[in-house]
């Protein structure tokens, strides 16, 4: 049995500037599989549609992961499956974005805050307006699959300890991050497959959640553990409230998204402080 939760809240700096929430989180659940996502549309002036970008990213992950059959694990190697999923997620996102560009031209209101050069660049490469990060995970066939691109966090949980998924990235500092709108997005989109038997669950979040804690140890002790504990004890409401509070008051002003999926009934010993 899997217990899961996703929650997104608008950041106070967005509320103040009357900007829409650019994060998006979603989930899909049936007897076979559980998929959770947390995606963060970029905040800069030129990213006028990144709220849609993050939604498309989330949808792309759910679609690509959702289409995976059990038989694939017997027919193909892990690497082949991962590469195939990377391509599928990218193509799915591309297709949604391109359709949106085609059906809905940029309005005057959307480009009102941009200067001439920014408008020019936007016209040259409209995909950029949808730039977003992507974090997604699926629990299926006793495995965890995880897709990650850009900043934010993706962790495996085991006995109260967080294990980062995805390689070390020294280029992601301040607000520099890889993006789905990049020309070489495929290179930076990572998909991994892990055995689920030894793991308690998976935790995904956007950078608005993790940045206030500044280092992994802090994040693990002061956020991850208490939240996992609450999930295990059915306190979904409290977690949602805390995320909302992070967004509108106690965070760093950025939008926040959390996506969490765990086996129900894991030993709580590691999660109590």
């Amino acid at each position: 049995m899997i217990t899961y939760l996703t929650r997104t809240a608008t950041g106070y700096s967005h509320l103040r500037e009357k900007k829409v929430c650019q994060d998006y989180s979603a989930c899909y659940h049936d007897e076979e599989r559980t998929i959770v996502t947390a995606c963060d549309g970029h905040g800069g002036a030129t990213y006028v549609r990144s709220d849609r970008g993050s939604k498309y990213a989330s949808d792309a992950v759910i679609r690509a992961f959702g289409a995976l059959e059990r038989s694939a694990f017997y027919r193909y190697t892990k690497k082949e499956i991962c590469n195939k999923l990377r391509l599928q997620i990218l193509c799915e996102w591309n297709a949604r974005v391109e359709r949106d560009i085609y059906e809905k031209r940029f309005t005057k209101a959307e480009i009102s805050r941009l200067d001439e050069e920014q408008v020019f660049r936007l016209k040259q490469n409209p995909v950029k307006a949808y730039g977003t990060t992507l974090q997604g995970a699926m629990i299926f066939a006793n495995k965890v699959l995880c897709a990650t691109l850009g900043d934010g966090g993706a962790f495996l949980l085991r006995k109260g300890v967080l294990y980062p998924i995805g390689g070390e990235d020294d280029e992601t500092v301040a607000n520099l991050t890889y993006s789905m709108s990049q020309e070489d997005a495929y290179e930076h989109l990572q998909v991994g497959i892990f055995d689920f038997s030894d793991i308690d669950g998976v935790l995904l979040c956007t950078d608005g959640v993790i940045n206030p804690y500044q280092c992994l140890g802090n994040f693990q002790e002061r956020f991850a553990k208490p939240v996992c504990l609450k999930l295990q004890t059915g306190q979904h409401r409290e977690i949602a409230d805390f995320i909302d509070e992070m967004g509108c008051k106690i965070g760093i002003g950025d939008d926040v998204s959390l996506a969490l999926a765990m086996k129900s009934g894991v030993s709580l010993r590691g999660y109590r402080s």
């Binding site: 027919r75 391509l87 599928q88 990218l90 193509c91 995909v127 020309e183 495929y186």
Partner: protein
């Protein structure tokens, strides 16, 4: 390995070859570095016994000699005691890098001009090969080498060059083979060579394969069956005008997306003809070497370099979109004079060259320079064309003043200047 270091091989009881090193292992044979009387050569030895036809073909090729200098051609045939054969050839000079290393990004051409020079050499070499009645048949990226600075071409692996329409059993490499060959409907010949030539040109100019696009995502894994479908059964050109189902994937096929946009229309048309129309009509609709040469020299003639960032791009004579600013840095495009000779329009930027084919309509020397645009040493704002001709030319300016310029002199670049190269060829600078 058949031979070890310092082994001696005797040919015809006259010559002795000393094995110095093992150079590599191909599918068909092994290649060694040998020395013969102080000179070094490469020796290829076939692993298996080859058919009599094969040996005959090889001997024939050796006797006829290389079609041109671009071919690293077998020089001498060797028969070994155990019935196996091999041949000697010159060593590949160190300055050449493999085309594969260009595709992977390891080595680059010094500039787009140099890249085009290489492409033109490639077409010229193939034209020559086909004129002599040969066909290459095993065209793939591993056979080509380039000099990153000069764009010189070297073609190796000439084992499978045979007379057109004869075949030695080699089909080629999947992604380069013409679809009818993949499907087994035809044996390789000159027309399938032309298809493969177009693939190599596409890869050189766009750094991608012309049939690899969105369709990739339909397959869980690109195995032989998938390749058969993508390259043989139902190939769809990535920039097919009406069928958009196989466009390059944004975020994945980065280079193709970036580069195709800036290729001139007439080059795109040439690719489209071969990769779309050329599927149905293999004999008439595949762009020939001569057509490629015309198209590529036109492309080269149009290139200019941005004085601010060095980016090379076309002036865009035949384009719908304007190249008023540099596509890379956005600064305004400088104004240039253009030399019109016959059908050629050569944009006169520093370093641009005039070639033999510009001044001689029937010449096939597309890479022999007869003039180059230089700046006056004392006044860099003044430009001229430094000639490299055997004879001088007559120039006439806008006011009908006539002057002679020697074969190694400099023609000043001014508007409305007419240059008489000979009775038939008069160029005008505008």
């Amino acid at each position: 390995m058949r031979f070890r270091k310092n082994d001696t091989i005797t040919i015809d009881e006259k010559e002795r070859l000393v094995v110095e090193d093992f150079l590599g292992d191909g599918g068909q044979g092994e290649v060694y570095l040998v020395s013969r009387g102080g000179e070094k050569y490469a020796l290829k030895v076939y692993k298996n016994e080859e058919s009599a036809d094969f040996r005959y073909n090889l001997k024939n090729n050796i006797d006829r000699g290389a079609p041109s200098e671009a071919f690293l051609w077998p020089k001498a045939l060797l028969d070994f005691d155990d019935g196996k054969i091999g041949y000697l050839m010159d060593l590949r000079p160190k300055n050449y890098a493999s085309f594969v290393s260009y595709l992977t990004g390891k080595n680059k051409f010094r500039s787009k001009q140099v890249l085009l020079r290489w492409c033109i050499e490639l077409c010229t070499a193939f034209k020559r090969l086909h004129e002599l009645g040969y066909s290459y048949q095993d065209l793939n990226d591993g056979s080509f080498f380039f000099d990153p600075d000069t764009g010189d071409l070297l073609i190796c692996d000439n084992d499978n060059v045979t007379a057109d329409k004869k075949n030695l059993g080699i089909l080629g490499k999947m992604r380069y083979m013409a679809p009818e060959i993949v499907r087994g409907e035809q044996m390789p010949d000159m027309h399938s060579d032309r298809f493969s030539l177009a693939v190599i040109l596409f890869m050189a100019l766009c750094l991608g394969n012309p049939y690899e696009g969105e369709r990739l995502k339909e397959y869980d894994i690109i195995d032989e069956d998938a390749e058969y479908e993508i390259f043989g059964e139902k190939p769809v050109f990535v920039y097919h005008k009406t069928d958009r189902s196989n466009r390059p994937i944004r975020g994945y096929h980065t280079s193709v997306l970036r580069r195709w946009a800036y290729i001139p229309l007439y080059v795109k048309e040439a690719f489209h003809r071969t990769f779309v129309d050329g599927l149905q009509d293999r004999e008439n609709e595949r762009t020939t070497e001569l057509e490629w040469l015309k198209v590529l020299t036109k492309y080269r003639d149009e290139l200019i370099a941005c004085p601010y960032c060095g980016h090379e791009y076309i002036v865009g004579f035949s384009e719908k979109k304007k190249y008023d600013v540099c596509p890379l840095c956005g600064k305004e495009t400088k104004k240039f004079c253009t030399l019109h000779i016959g059908r050629n329009a050569v944009v006169l930027d520093l370093g641009k060259k005039l070639y033999k084919n510009h001044v001689d309509k029937y010449s096939a020397r597309y890479n022999q320079a007869v003039g180059i645009v230089v700046a006056n040493k004392n006044n860099p704002a003044l430009w001229g064309i430094k000639l490299m001709l055997p004879e001088g030319v007559e120039i006439k300016d806008g006011e009908n003043n006539v002057k002679m310029v020697t074969g190694s002199g400099v023609v000043p670049i001014v508007s409305n200047l007419k240059i008489k190269f000979n009775e038939n060829i008069i160029g005008e600078i505008r």
